[in-house]
Structures are given as structure tokens and as C-alpha cells.
């Protein structure tokens, strides 16, 4: 019979982790019945595994403030998921400006048509501080609004975080007029409060453009909208 010390720690780990096949398991268990030391070693391996699992069952969560209440007109309540159908182009950002413009047109039009057919809503997520990217996002939203046509129920949201927060900073954004124009067409803009907090910690005061709302984290909005079946595109 194999002695206890002939079973390596790797083998015992494999046993407690379910990595051994039934035959190998049987061999080890048979030995452990007659070798208390081996039995004890197996128990210790299992105990360590259980302790680790137990120690992380309830981990501390980051406290997240709830999203701030709406600051202005509400065409729809936030819970109303049905809405306008907007879309995002497929190829923004990495190509030159003219190419971006042209492809945004084509891409947005194509996606808009599909969106109308599928009745899908879209969330655009701006993370880049590059004005060209910001403009591309705004343009796509506009193209899509045009594509849905008057009388269509539609909904689009644009959320900005990281460097993309500059899009919604009233003292920084080069697109205040475009944003206001889109807001008049019921596009809703959200800023990530977490990003704002970070900027505040760096001594930067953030003043948002009028009617921009806040969500504690962009990912909260993304996940919540996705759960409601919205389309998501990061720009």
C-alpha cells in the first residue's frame, strides 16, 4: 500500500478540487481509510478551501448614491423603456475625419433603419475627450433622429464619463449648442458622477451643461439599459 507521504500536495489539491477521475479518487480515499495522517491532510486541504470560500461570501460593497432626480421636462419617466429608436454608426473614431463623417452617415442610416424595424433603443457612451469623437456621437444621434421621422416614438440617451465628461462640461465643451439642440429633440444626456467626483478631488470644479443629468456610474446606466434590451455602443 502506498504510504501517506507518497501522495503529493498537488494530488490532494486535485482531489479536493474535483480534478481527479473516479478511479484516482477511489485510490486516494481507500488509502485515507487506513491512514489517519493522509485523512488529516485531506481534511486540512479541504478546510483551507472552505475557509477561503467562506471569507469572501459577503464582501464589502461600494456605496452608490441613487441617480439624481430629473431636473427638467420629462417626456417620459425614466422607467419607460419604450421610446425612440436611434442608432450608432459602426466605424467612428479610428479613421480620418472625412471618413468618419461619411461612414457615420451610412452606418447610422443603416442602423437607424434596422432599429425602426426592430423597435430598439440605443445608448451611446462617450469616453473619449477627442472633440472629433464627441462630434461624431452627436452627429449620429442627429442622423438617427432624422431617420426615425416625425411622429415616431423614440428614445436615445448619451452618457459621458472618463475624458468624455468634457462633452458635458459647460466651460469646456465645444458643443453646447448641439447638445441643447438634441435635448430639444428629447435626447437625454447623462454625466457620470463618479468621474465628476474624481475631477473634484483633483481640484477641478465641474459645471454641467443645462439639463444634463447624473448617474453615479456610467456602467450602472449601461447595465440597466441593457437589461431593458437597449442597444449599446461605446464611442
Amino acid at each position: 500500500m502506498k504510504k501517506d507521504e507518497h501522495f503529493s500536495e498537488e494530488q490532494l489539491n486535485a482531489l479536493v478540487d474535483g480534478e481527479l477521475d473516479p478511479e484516482e479518487r477511489s485510490v486516494l480515499y481507500n488509502h485515507s481509510e487506513h491512514q489517519p495522517d493522509l485523512d488529516m491532510r485531506i481534511c486540512k486541504q479541504r478546510k483551507i478551501k472552505e475557509l477561503v470560500k467562506h471569507a469572501y461570501e459577503d464582501v464589502p460593497q461600494v456605496e452608490r448614491p441613487r441617480a439624481r432626480p430629473l431636473s427638467r421636462r420629462g417626456l417620459f419617466s425614466t422607467g419607460l423603456a419604450a421610446g425612440i429608436l436611434l442608432a450608432v454608426g459602426l466605424v467612428i473614431g479610428v479613421v480620418g475625419h472625412s471618413l468618419v463623417e461619411r461612414e457615420s452617415l451610412n452606418g447610422a442610416a443603416a442602423v437607424a433603419t434596422r432599429a425602426v424595424a426592430e423597435r430598439e433603443n440605443y445608448l451611446l457612451h462617450v469616453v473619449s475627450g477627442d472633440p472629433e469623437q464627441m462630434y461624431a456621437a452627436l452627429e449620429q444621434a442627429r442622423f438617427l433622429l432624422d431617420a426615425t421621422g416625425e411622429g415616431e416614438v423614440g428614445h436615445v440617451e448619451i452618457i459621458a464619463n472618463e475624458r468624455g465628461i468634457d462633452l458635458l462640461r459647460s466651460d469646456v465643451t465645444p458643443f453646447a449648442r448641439e447638445i441643447a439642440d438634441l435635448q430639444r429633440q428629447d435626447v437625454i444626456f447623462y454625466a457620470c458622477s463618479r468621474t465628476i467626483e474624481r475631477l473634484n478631488e483633483e481640484g477641478i470644479e465641474v459645471v454641467l451643461v443645462p439639463d444634463a443629468r447624473q448617474e453615479y456610474t456610467a456602467i450602472d446606466r449601461v447595465v440597466s439599459r441593457m437589461q431593458q434590451g437597449w442597444k449599446y455602443e461605446k464611442i
Partner: protein, 186 residues
């Protein structure tokens, strides 16, 4: 065509749902690796962004969970590389936190185990937690961390050995309260 599987409407929905469902698990893992709730939350956010942005790279939905944890691991390595470009993230040991003076036995046990895990080199900590918290197979852990299965086994071995040294004195009695209040079994 396998590559297009994930891009069907149903698959995309399933993928989004999976990401939502995995979020807590990703957070728990990130917390076990960093022991910093805010950093863990940031890493999970980054991971989800990356997963959503790069979902076209995912060939099959069945591999999505491991893929998400792989992204999380890469995000964390990137984070520590950016913070400390001299020390390899694999050898990094997350600093030990202070021990609160008044804690229940349950809290003391959790704190003791977490302190022991915190003292492991990150490479060992990752293997131990991926196996113990998520129950991933060694081959899956190897895939997530992009290391050979043999390395997974040796890191696991060293990690558990170190944990045993720290935790071997944990008395069974400390856990008695939990046993007495057992409310569910698998």
C-alpha cells in the same frame, strides 16, 4: 459559422444578460485580488466596458465567463503595471490592513482568512481564489491567466501551503456558530 454566433440578436441578449449576472462574481473576485472595494469596482467597470466593446472577439457564448475573468485579470495587471512599473504584478503582495479591535468571531475569522490571502503573492492569490471562489477547473484557470496547467497546480500548492501556515490554528469552534445556523446546502 462560429464567429457570427455571438452576433445574433438572441446571442447578444444572452451575452448581455450573462455580463449582468456575472457582475457580482467579478466584483467578489476583484475584491479578493485587491481587498479594495473602490478599486475592485473600478476594475469590474473597466472589464465590462472592455467586454462590451470587444464582444466580437468572443467566438462562443460558452466561453464567455472565463473570458470575462480573463479581462478582469488583465485589467488588474494593467492597473498595477501603471502603478508600479518595476515590480512584476505577479509578485506583488497587497499590503496588510489593520485589524479592528472589536469584531465578532465570524468577522475575526473572515478577517484572518482575508489577511492570509492578502499576504499571498498576487499570482498565487489569483489561482487560489479562481479555484476556491469560482470553482473553475485548473484548465479554465490556466486559460484565464494565460499560464500552463502545471503552473496553476504549483501556484495553488504554494498558495494553499502558505494559507495553511497562517490558518492552521483556526479552531473549529470558531465555525461552530455557522454550522449551527446552517440554512442551505447545495
Amino acid at each position: 459559422m462560429a464567429a457570427s454566433m455571438i452576433f445574433g440578436i438572441n446571442q447578444r441578449r444572452a451575452f448581455r444578460k450573462l455580463i449582468c449576472n456575472c457582475r457580482e462574481r467579478l466584483y467578489r473576485m476583484a475584491y479578493a485580488w485587491t481587498h479594495d472595494p473602490y478599486l475592485a469596482d473600478d476594475l469590474v467597470q473597466q472589464s465590462i466596458y472592455k467586454a462590451l466593446s470587444n464582444q466580437k472577439q468572443l467566438k462562443e457564448l460558452g466561453a464567455a465567463e472565463a473570458w470575462l475573468f480573463r479581462i478582469l485579470s488583465n485589467c488588474m495587471k494593467d492597473h498595477y503595471r501603471a502603478k508600479r512599473d518595476v515590480v512584476s504584478p505577479d509578485n506583488l503582495v497587497i499590503s496588510e490592513s489593520g485589524t479592528p479591535e472589536r469584531m465578532t468571531e465570524q468577522q475575526q475569522l473572515v478577517e484572518k482568512v482575508q489577511n492570509a490571502v492578502r499576504q499571498l503573492p498576487l499570482a498565487q492569490c489569483q489561482v487560489v481564489t479562481l479555484v476556491d471562489l469560482e470553482g473553475f477547473a485548473y484548465a479554465t484557470v490556466a486559460n484565464i491567466l494565460d499560464i500552463p496547467v502545471g503552473t496553476v497546480m504549483s501556484r495553488l500548492c504554494r498558495g494553499r501551503r502558505a494559507l495553511k501556515e497562517h490558518l492552521i490554528d483556526v479552531r473549529p469552534g470558531v465555525q461552530a456558530g455557522r454550522t449551527a445556523t446552517l440554512t442551505r446546502v447545495k
